[in-house]
Each structure stands twice: as C-alpha cells, then as structure tokens.
C-alpha cells in the first residue's frame, strides 16, 4: 500500500527528476509530443504535396531533412508521421489495457472456473510471439494501419490481464483488505480504493514500455507492407519506400528511421525511470 506521506505525487515527481534516464526520456517525449501537436496545426510544407520538380533536394535550410522521390518535404512528413506514431501507441494501449485490465480484475477477484478460463485463453495468446500474432491478424483482416493497431491490441491484452490479476491476488490476500471487508466495505469500493491503486505502478511501467514497442512493431509491419498505405507518412512505411534511394538520397529513409529510434528510446527511458522510481523491486525487463 502506498505510504500516506504529505504528497506522494510530489515525492514521485521529485524522484523522477533525479533519475537522469527518466529526465532525458521525459524531455524527449515532451519535445516529440510538442512536434506532434504542432503538426496538427501546421507543418513547414504540406506533407502530401507532390512536386516532382523539387525531388531529392539535399538537406538544406529550406528543406532541413531534404525532399523525397516525389518532392515532398521529409521534415514535414516526419512531423506528420509523429502524429500517427503517437496515435498508434495510444490506441494499441487503450485496446490492450481496455480488454486486459477488466479481464484481469475479474479473473483475480472472482477466481474459480472463470479465472481458469481467462488464464488458459491468455496462455494461447501468449504462446504466439506478439509480432507473429499481429502479422496473422493483419493477414486475416487486411493489411491496413488500423488493422495493425487492432492486431497489436488483441495480441497484448493478456499481458495486462496477467499483470492486474497478479496484483489483485496479492492484494486480496493482504490483511488490510480483509480488514476492510470485515468492516463491511462494498466490493466496488474495495476494488477502487485498495486494489486498483496497487496496480498503478506496474501498469505505468508496462504501458511506457509497450508504447515504445507498439511504435516499433507497427513501423516494422508497415515496413514489410502490412500496415500503412501510400501516401501515409507513417515512419516505417517511409523507410520502406525510401530504402531504394539509400545510395542517392540517404535522407529519405534515414530521417524517418531516426525518428522511430528516438521516440522508442524516449519511451524506454521513461519506462526504466518509472520502474526505478516506483518500485525498485520490479526489475523485469519486458521487451
């Protein structure tokens, strides 16, 4: 149970600030989020505007990341792409945790045959490497970005279900829940007040790590043609399309590639930092 000091939030923020990795990750994420937000309003150039007259411009002040094979501004496209990547990450996490958390709570709290069933089904899902399962789901639904998101969400719900179930079980056993029950607390209240808050720390860590992975995996799916479609500025897709120009116009594939790396790294730094700060005993590196 979290200690009831004057302000746990402030203490948490203080510790996060002292963690260099977390600080770096947060700064990066804040910057990237700012870019993504800006790109809603405006990008230097229309990221979709084709103009073959200005194709393959080398990076220069006018086009800091150069232009691609159809004369589109790579910087503007990378900016627009950040919106897609953050969107992908959020939707995947919402789906995965939206499915996984309730199922985990039910499973842990109710126990019995329901628990057994949910866990066996999650076994099956966990038996697939998530990348492969996502590929198979995309194959069935059709290769679009939305389906890639759905696929990852579906592939990842068992992680959340298991995590929450574990927490619920350990809290359920502990004395203070017994005590609360003894004084007649209702079940809903019990869950809301005592059980769920205990899940927050491990959930945050898992969410941060998965956000990075979601971006990396959808980029990979798009790279092999199982995700975004033209003219999408999805980063993995930009790398895939720009790859053939590597020797004549390296900036076309490299900048979106670096964008993926930076964003994923930012999430990982934050995830690591959260882990260190929230629970020093939690050191499983779920990649």
């Amino acid at each position: 149970m979290p200690t009831r000091t004057a302000s746990p939030t402030r203490a948490f923020l203080h510790r996060m600030r002292r963690n260099r990795g977390a600080l770096l990750g947060m700064t990066l994420l804040a910057a990237l989020a700012a870019v993504a937000l800006t790109s809603w309003i405006a990008t230097p150039v229309d990221p979709y505007a084709i103009d073959v007259e200005r194709r393959f411009q080398t990076p220069a002040p006018r086009y800091p990341f150069g232009t691609d094979d159809l004369g589109r501004d790579v910087l503007s496209r990378v900016m627009a792409g950040s919106r897609i990547s953050f969107g992908v990450a959020s939707f995947v996490l919402v789906i995965a945790s939206g499915l996984g958390i309730p199922l985990g709570v039910v499973s842990g709290y109710r126990g019995g045959w329901l628990d057994e069933m949910i866990m066996r089904v999650s076994d099956v899902f966990l038996a697939f490497p998530s990348f492969l399962l996502a590929m198979a789901i995309v194959a069935a639904l059709g290769s679009t970005l939305v389906n890639a998101i759905l696929a990852l969400g579906i592939a990842w719900w068992p992680r959340y279900a298991r995590l929450v179930r574990g927490q619920v079980l350990s809290v359920k056993q502990s004395l203070y829940v017994d005590a609360a029950r003894a004084i007649g607390a209702r079940e809903g209240r019990l869950l809301a007040r005592h059980i769920l808050p205990n899940c927050v720390a491990p959930l945050l860590v898992q969410l941060a790590t998965d956000a990075g992975n979601a971006i990396l995996i959808t980029a990979s799916l798009s790279f092999v043609g199982l995700g975004a479609k033209p003219p999408s500025p999805e980063w993995g897709f930009m790398v895939a399309q720009g790859r053939q120009f590597l020797l004549t116009a390296w900036w076309v594939p490299i900048f979106p590639g670096l964008a993926i790396a930076t964003t994923v790294a930012a999430f990982l730094f934050v995830g690591d930092g959260l882990r260190d700060v929230l629970d020093p005993r939690l050191r499983s590196t779920a990649i």
Binding site: D69, G225, F245, T248
Partner: protein, 545 residues
C-alpha cells in the same frame, strides 16, 4: 585454365578449381583493387575469366518448366538451358530480327494457317536424346496439354505432324500472321525423355519444375530456391565452344536495387536487371560500369475494370485526361521513356505516329466527370512494385491527380504475381484498377491487343482482367491477325488504336526504357527491343579476366 574446360574435367574438379580461383579474386577485391582496361579487347587474345559470370535478378524464379511459365522471372532461369525454334537478334538498326535456332528454315502457307519447319540436324538434348521432328511435335503437344500461360501466347493449334525425321508441320485452326514471331517465346524444346517422369497425368510438370533437360548451351548444376541457380557448360552443345564464352553462370536473386548497384560496383555481379533510374545516372560516372539504357516498346498502363463508374466511357476518358503524364515521365522516369499516344508503343511496327501524345487536361477532366456524375467516388488501385519499381510514384501521382477532382484512391501494392493476379480473376472481386506493364513478347501488336483487350481473353483464358468487351474491337483484332501481310494488317490496327484511345479500359501512362547495369569486362551483351521479355543470350556472354 583458358576457357576450354568441360573436356575431361569432372564437375568436382571444376568446382574446386573455380573455388580456388574465386578465393584469389576475393583477395584482390578485398584490397580494393579495381582495374579498367577499356582497350583490352584490342590487345592480345582475350582471356575468359574462370570465375562464374554473375547475373543478379530482382524477381524469383518460379519454375524451370518453360511450358508452365514463360514470364521473364522464370525465363531468366530457363534460357541458359532451353532453346526455341527461332529467336530474336538485334538487327543493328535498333530493332530486332528473327534468326534461326533449332529450326533452320520455315515456310508459311499463303493463308497463314499452315507452317512447315526444317529442323537443325545433329542436335541432341543434354541427356543424349536426339532433337528431331518427333521431339518438336512432343513439345507442341505438351505445351497444349499443360495449357498454362505460355500456351496462351500461341494460336489454337489443330495438329502437329512430323513429315520426316527433320520436318514438322503445324496446322493452325485459324490464320495467324505473326506465328513465327510468337515462336521466339514458346515452346522451348524440352527433352521428350521427361515423359517417363510423368506422375498422375501431370505431363511431368512436377519433375520438370526443378529438373531441366534442353538443347541449350548450359546445364543446370544446382538450384537453391530463393537464392541462386548455377549452370555449367553443356559439353556437347551444338554450336560448340570455340571462341570466348562464359564457363559457368550464376543467376542470383537480389531484390533490392541498391544492393544490385553495390554488387556491380564492387565487382560481385557482372550484370544486373534491377537498376533504378535514379541510380543509373550516378553509376554512369563509374568507368568500370556500363549502363545499358534503351527504349523498349513496353508501356505501363493503369487498367480500368469494367464495373461501377468505369462502365461510363466518359469517366474513363476523364481518367485519361486527369493523369499527370509529364510529372511521371519527366519527373520520375527522368525522360527515360515517353508519353504514349495510345495502346501500341512506338517501336512496334503497327504504332500509329499520327495520333497525338496524351497530356493532362484538368479542365476537360473536370467537365467529363461532371457529365459522367459517377456515384462511386472512391477507388482501389492495385500495383506490383517488384515488376515495375516506379509503381509507388505512379500510383501516388495518380492519387494526387484524382484528389484534385474529388476522387479518392487507395493504393494496394502486392509483392508477387500469383496474389496480384488472384485478386483479378473475377470482375466482382478485387480492385477497381490495376497497374499493368504491357511488354510485347514479340514484334507484333496482336499479342498485346488480343491478350489484354479481346473479349475472349477474360479470365481464365488470358489477361483481360478489365473484362472489357467491345465487339467492334474484337473484329478488328481478329481480322488484323488473319490478314497475310503487314500492309494489309495495318489499317485494322490503326482503327483498333483509335477505338482504344476513345473507349479503352486503360490510362496509357508511359512508355519506358529498359535498364541493365553491367561491368565493363562483361562482353557479348547485345540489346534488342524484346529483351525486356527475353533474357540475354547467355551463350555469347563472357567476362574478361
């Protein structure tokens, strides 16, 4: 070792020797040594390199059986082994001419229905089976029995008879003027001994998938699927082995164009078929490389499938008016190509130069769309970029052009022919439009017109995946092919071009160049306009040591 192995050298010894030689080459390459001797050919007798000649290709071989698949990606692997009755060779004036291969003479009846061939004497398949009239007949019959892609290139054959040991006569059901031209593409002559490998009435298809016995200059050593094929000389080849020729050939699958370029630059490849235009210009600066960049009668089209809004000729006309021809030909193809004026490319004899080239007419397109008032506003375009690397750009230019007139386009790119075609076999399923490269298999308009636009060519017969049906055009195509000479055929094709310009189920986007990259020491590479559909002549290729 100077270009004369094969006699008395076992394959194992050959392997060992070449391995050693290759090790030496590897060391030289490691030190970064590159040398160029542009005048070497004028100096002392040329020495043939003992390491294998390496041809890197961007598409995967599907089968070695030439009667099952004759698309370029399989023919690359088949042509070192198999030979046709006649073939194309450059005519020295930028065109191509028919030359004898396994047939030495041929004669057509006046009605273009009966063709008689005199076969080359003293030719044996690499398994020792003699090549004779019976063998030729067996091949025609098998092609028909297998009845896959290559069979569709030939007209309906009534029967084939062996007149004597070296004479065959082919009786067609209907007159077919370009029959001799078509023979350059099919059938390739397979050893009839393969018949004994038949299982379950499959015409030995399963066996010939991975085994190959032909009359050609090379025999297959190994095929590592998805990697490479290696060939050694056929010691008993009928043309003999005097003069410089490659000793061994390796055909290697390298899908990435950037990698193909790097391999050429490093000397790890001698010939490459997947060099893209943007790389070609940079590579020309390298004195060790030669970029073979030639106009071909090949065109890239966006085919419009006859359903929904596409049924309205006005809408099809609007799509032809909206496409940014110069953006694509100038901006993407860097003018290595030209804007077409209709379905038949410049370079095919029936091309009509009097028709104006297409251009983008936005105002007219808007007007046509307004008149057509299509209920459907959103379309799907399917492309296959491994077969035409500029599809992504073409598709996205069209996408932007269509967006300007309020039409949405979704682009689906496929990676292999089977799934690409699988989506097109029924009109009610699959995309609204598809990219299609029209590569004439031989110098005649009939092949492309009949295959692509004739109403009898709808699947499963041939490749009219648009399901376009126009009795007027059918009649023109049918009468064009049965008229006996070009002068009398031309009027039909002129009319066919006009019909297709006005009504056709396609946007005729661009005529494009064929690009091969090669290293300068590679000799014997000759270009002709139909090379796009026929691999290089492997017999004449050799690398100078």
């Amino acid at each position: 070792m100077n270009g004369r192995t094969g006699d008395g050298v076992t394959r194992r010894e050959l392997l060992i020797r070449s391995a050693r030689a290759a090790a030496g080459v590897g060391v030289a390459g490691f030190a970064g040594a590159t040398w160029v001797r542009p005048f070497a050919a004028l100096a002392a007798p040329a020495r043939v390199s003992t390491r294998p000649l390496v041809f890197v290709v961007r598409t995967e071989t599907l089968t070695l059986d030439p009667h099952q698949n004759d698309f370029i990606y399989s023919q690359n692997a088949q042509r070192p082994i198999y030979e046709p009755l006649v073939d194309y060779a450059p005519d020295g004036k930028g065109g191509a001419t028919i030359v004898p291969v396994l047939a030495t003479e041929w004669r057509a009846s006046n009605d273009a229905k009966t063709y008689t061939f005199r076969l080359r004497p003293n030719v044996r398949f690499s398994d020792g089976t003699p090549f004779d009239a019976a063998a030729a007949k067996w091949n025609f019959d098998r092609l028909k029995a297998v009845n896959k892609g290559p069979a569709a290139r030939l007209p309906a054959i009534d029967r084939v008879e062996a007149l004597d040991r070296l004479t065959v006569r082919v009786h067609l059901r209907a007159p077919f003027a370009p029959f001799i031209q078509a023979l350059a593409k099919a059938p390739y002559m397979v050893s009839p001994a393969a018949q004994s490998r038949e299982s379950g009435g499959d015409q030995a298809q399963r066996w010939l998938d991975t085994n190959a016995v032909g009359t050609g200059p090379f025999v297959l050593e190994t095929w590592a699927r998805g990697q490479q094929l290696t060939y050694a000389r056929n010691p008993n080849y009928w043309r003999g082995w005097s003069g410089p020729h490659a000793e061994r050939i390796t055909i290697r699958l390298v899908r990435e164009s950037a990698t193909q370029r790097l391999m050429l630059e490093a000397g790890d490849a001698d010939l490459a078929d997947g060099i893209i235009i943007t790389d070609a210009d940079a590579m020309k600066k390298n004195p060790a490389l030669v970029i073979e960049e030639h106009s071909t009668p090949a065109q890239i089209h966006v085919m419009l499938r006859m359903r929904g809004a596409m049924l309205d000729p006005k809408f099809r006309e609007a799509l032809r008016a909206v496409f940014g021809y110069t953006s694509f030909v100038g901006g993407v193809l860097l003018n290595k190509g030209r804007v077409p004026n209709g379905p038949i490319a410049k370079g095919i004899w029936a091309h009509d130069p009097s028709l104006p080239q297409y251009r983008r007419e936005l105002v007219r397109a808007r007007q046509l769309i307004q008149e057509a008032a299509p209920a459907q506003r959103s379309f799907v375009l399917q492309t296959i970029s491994p077969f035409f690397p500029y599809y992504p750009q073409l598709a996205q230019i069209l996408q932007q052009n269509l967006a300007e007139v309020g039409i949405a386009l979704t682009i689906e790119d496929r990676l292999d022919a089977a799934s690409f075609i699988g989506a097109l076999t029924a009109l009610e399923r699959g995309p609204d439009m598809y990219g299609w490269a029209i590569n004439p298999a031989y110098d005649d308009p009939h092949d492309i017109l009949h295959r692509t636009y004739h109403s009898t060519s709808v699947p499963p017969t041939a490749q009219n995946f648009t399901f376009y049906k126009n009795p007027q055009l059918d009649a023109l195509i049918d009468r064009g092919v049965s008229a006996p000479d070009r002068a009398r055929r031309q009027p039909f094709y002129n009319e066919a071009q006009r019909v297709l310009r006005a009504d056709g189920p396609a946007i005729y986007c661009a005529q494009f160049f064929q690009i091969f990259g090669r290293r300068r020491p590679l000799n014997g590479f000759v270009w002709h306009p139909f090379l796009f559909n026929l691999p290089p002549d492997f017999y004449n290729l050799w690398v100078e040591a």
